[in-house]
Subunit: 269 residues, 3 copies
C-alpha cells in the first residue's frame, strides 16, 4: 500500500509513566515525518471491550491511517500480534478482539498477517512491552510503505479473534439492548443504532421506560442535554449516532449502576 | 486575515475518550500543516468560568493563532457559536462567556461572526458534539485563510456574552477581592493584579490577614514558595502576575475551603 | 553542537492547567520546527526521585535530543538551573538531582553550564515558573544550535547534584536491594539490573522470598504476567530490564505497602 501520513495510538498505558512517549520515540525514529495522534491512553487496564469501543468510535474520523492499539492482558503469552487491512487502513495490535469492532465498522478485514517477521522488531524484545518492542516498530514501517505481507505470515481473516456483537432486538414499541460502553462522563451507549431509533418508537417527545435487573426508570427521549433540567436523566442519539442514556450534568452509569454488558429492555410510551 | 500556523484547543472533554483525537483528526484533514496545541481538556464539566480563566492564562504566550475553546453546557440549545477577532488572533467557541476573558485581555473584540454558514460544518451535525461538527471544521478553515466574514453573519461585538469582571477594590492597606480560579494544585488566584500589589501594601516581608466567611488567616507575603516551611500558607504574585494564595507542598483551596467566587478581604499589617 | 530536532519535556505540572501548553508555545516560537514530545507531566508534585527515574527510563529510546525536566520544589531559591551534556544529548533543568540518573545512564556528564545568561531568558521572569521563563527558552535555543557554553558559566561536572545510587548487593542466592520507583500501575522496580538476576539466583521457575520491614512474601520468578493467575504476585525482569515486583491485574505497591526507598532482601529457593 502507499505510505500513510497518520498513525493513531490507543492503549491502557496511562499517563503517569514514560511508556507512551517511548513508543512515540520508537516510531519517530523509523518514520520521522509521521503524524502520531494519541486517541487515549486511559483505557482501564486490560479492558479489551472498552478499548475496542473507543477505537471504533475514533477511526471513522481519520484519513487512511495505521491504527495501533494495545490493550493486552495476554502480553508475552501465546496470543499473536497481528496487522489487519480494512477500509484502506491498517490495524496493528494483539489478536484478542481489541481491533475487531473497528475493523468490522471499516468494512471487515481484507487481509491479515501474524507479526512473525522478527527482523522488524526491536533488536531486544521483552515479554511485557510489545507496544514498544513489536507493535510500534512494525506499524511505523508499515506506515512508511512496507508491504503488509512482509510483516509476517498471512492468516485467514476468518481466524481473527472477534468480540461477540452485543444483543440488539427491535420489537414493537421498544427494543432489547445491551450497554456497549460508558464514556468518561458516565454517559451510557447502548447497542441500538440511532438510525434504527424511530423503528423502535424512539421519537423526540416520547418517554422510554428502561428496565434492567428488576429495576425500571422512565426517561424522556430528547435531542440534546439542554432539554432536561440539570440532574435529570435523558435518552438521546449520541454523537456517534447510538442511542444512549445520560444525566444532564451528572453520571448516568454511576447513578443507575450500569456498565458494559448490562442488558436492558426499552419500552416506549 | 493571513493563514495561521497554530491552533490551540481547550475543552472539558476529558482524556478517557476519543473526543479530543476526533477533533484533531477533523482539523488535520482540513489543514494538514496546522500545528495543534492542546491547552487542557480537564476543565471540570461545564465550568465556563474555569475554562475562561485557563484560556486567558494561556493565550498571551502564543503567536497569533486560532484558539478553539469548548465548554458548552448549552450545546444543542439556542446559544450561538461564534468566531471573534481580537489582538490579531481568532477565538472560536460557544457564545457563553468562555471566550470573553481571553478576548478582553487581548484588547477586546474587533469583529465577530455567528457561525451560521452551514457549508463549513461537517455534512451531518449532531446536537451534542459541536466541537467536532462545527467549531473544529470552521476553525481549521479560518486557520487556512478563510476570511472571518465567510464563517457566518457579522454580529455586534457588544452583543457577545461576557462574564462579569470579578470584584477588586484596593483600599488603604489592603483590598477587597474575589477568588478568580483555583489551579490543579489548589493554588488560589485572586482578582488583584500583581502590579497593583504594592498599592495595596503587599510588599515582601509583610503579613496579610485574609478574611472570608467569618474566618481569618494571617499569611506572609513572599516572593516564592521556598521562603516558607513545607505545609505553611503564603501569599505571592503568581506566574501570571496575579496575587495568589498557596500552601507550600499543599493544597490551599482544600485547606481553606476556597473556590472561584469566594469574596475575601486582605488587610496588610 | 549540531541542532537537535527533538525536545522532550517532563514535569510535575499536571494536566489541568495551561502550564504545559504555555511551555510548548514558548519553545515553538523560538524553534518552530522542533518536535516536542511530552514524557509525562504527572510526576507527583516535587518528587525529584520519581522524576529522575522516569526520565532515565525514557531517554534511551530517543535520538540525540534536548531533554527538559522540571520537578523543582526549590524554584525561586538559590538552587541553580543547569544544562548538561551527556551521551550526545543535552539535559536542561534544576540542579537538584532530577537530571542525574539519566545523565549517568547516558555515560555521565561531559560538560555543564549554570544558566546564568539572562539574555536567553524571557524578558520578565517570575520566581515560580522557571519552566516557562528560563528552562524552555534556553532549551529551545540550544536545540536550535546555540553552543552550550553560551547558555551560562561552565561548572565542574563533579559539582552537579546527584541522587545517591540505591543499594544493591548481590549475595549467594539472593540480593539486598531497594525500591527505585513505582509506576502508574503499582509495579515496583527494584535496584537489581535484570542482567544480574541470574547471578542472584533469579531464574524463571524459582521462587523468591521478599523480606522487608519484618514482613515476608514468597513469589514466583516468571517471564511475564500471564504465567500467574489474576491477583497473584510475581517477580520478573521488567521492560527496562530491572527486576520488579507486580500483581497480575493488580497494584503491588498498594498491596504490599512498598514505595521508593523501601529496602528489601531477596532470597531465592
Amino acid at each position: 500500500m502507499a505510505p500513510f501520513h497518520c498513525l493513531t495510538f490507543l492503549t491502557d498505558y496511562g499517563l503517569e509513566d514514560a511508556f507512551v512517549a517511548v513508543c512515540h520515540a520508537v516510531a519517530s525514529q523509523i518514520a520521522p515525518d509521521l503524524r502520531i495522534t494519541d486517541i487515549t491512553h486511559l483505557i482501564p487496564l486490560g479492558d479489551i471491550r472498552r478499548g475496542a469501543a473507543v477505537l471504533a468510535q475514533a477511526v471513522p474520523y481519520f484519513p487512511p491511517a495505521v491504527h495501533v492499539a494495545v490493550v493486552d492482558p495476554g502480553v508475552g503469552t501465546a496470543r499473536q500480534g497481528v496487522a489487519v487491512e480494512a477500509g484502506g487502513s491498517l490495524f496493528v495490535g494483539p489478536d484478542n478482539g481489541l481491533l475487531s469492532v473497528a475493523v468490522a465498522a471499516a468494512g471487515g478485514a481484507v487481509r491479515a498477517v501474524s507479526l512473525t517477521n522478527r527482523a522488524l522488531w526491536r533488536e531486544t524484545t521483552t515479554a511485557t512491552f510489545h507496544g514498544r518492542d513489536i507493535f510500534m516498530p512494525v506499524a511505523a514501517r508499515l506506515a512508511a510503505g512496507l508491504p503488509l505481507e512482509e510483516a509476517g505470515d498471512l492468516v485467514e481473516v476468518t481466524s481473527l479473534v472477534t468480540l461477540p456483537p452485543p444483543e440488539c432486538q427491535i420489537t414493537a414499541g421498544g427494543a432489547r439492548v445491551e450497554v456497549v460502553t460508558v464514556d468518561g462522563f458516565g454517559n451510557v451507549q447502548l447497542s441500538l443504532p440511532g438510525i434504527d431509533a424511530p423503528r423502535a418508537g424512539l421519537i423526540p417527545g416520547r418517554t422510554v421506560t428502561l428496565t434492567w435487573d428488576g429495576r425500571d426508570v422512565a426517561v424522556p427521549f430528547v435531542t440534546t442535554f439542554g432539554e432536561v433540567a440539570p440532574g435529570e436523566p435523558l435518552c438521546y442519539r449520541d454523537s456517534g449516532d447510538w442511542v444512549a442514556i445520560a444525566v444532564a450534568g451528572g453520571d448516568a452509569a454511576r447513578r443507575f449502576g450500569l456498565r458494559a454488558g448490562t442488558r436492558m429492555t426499552l419500552i416506549v410510551t
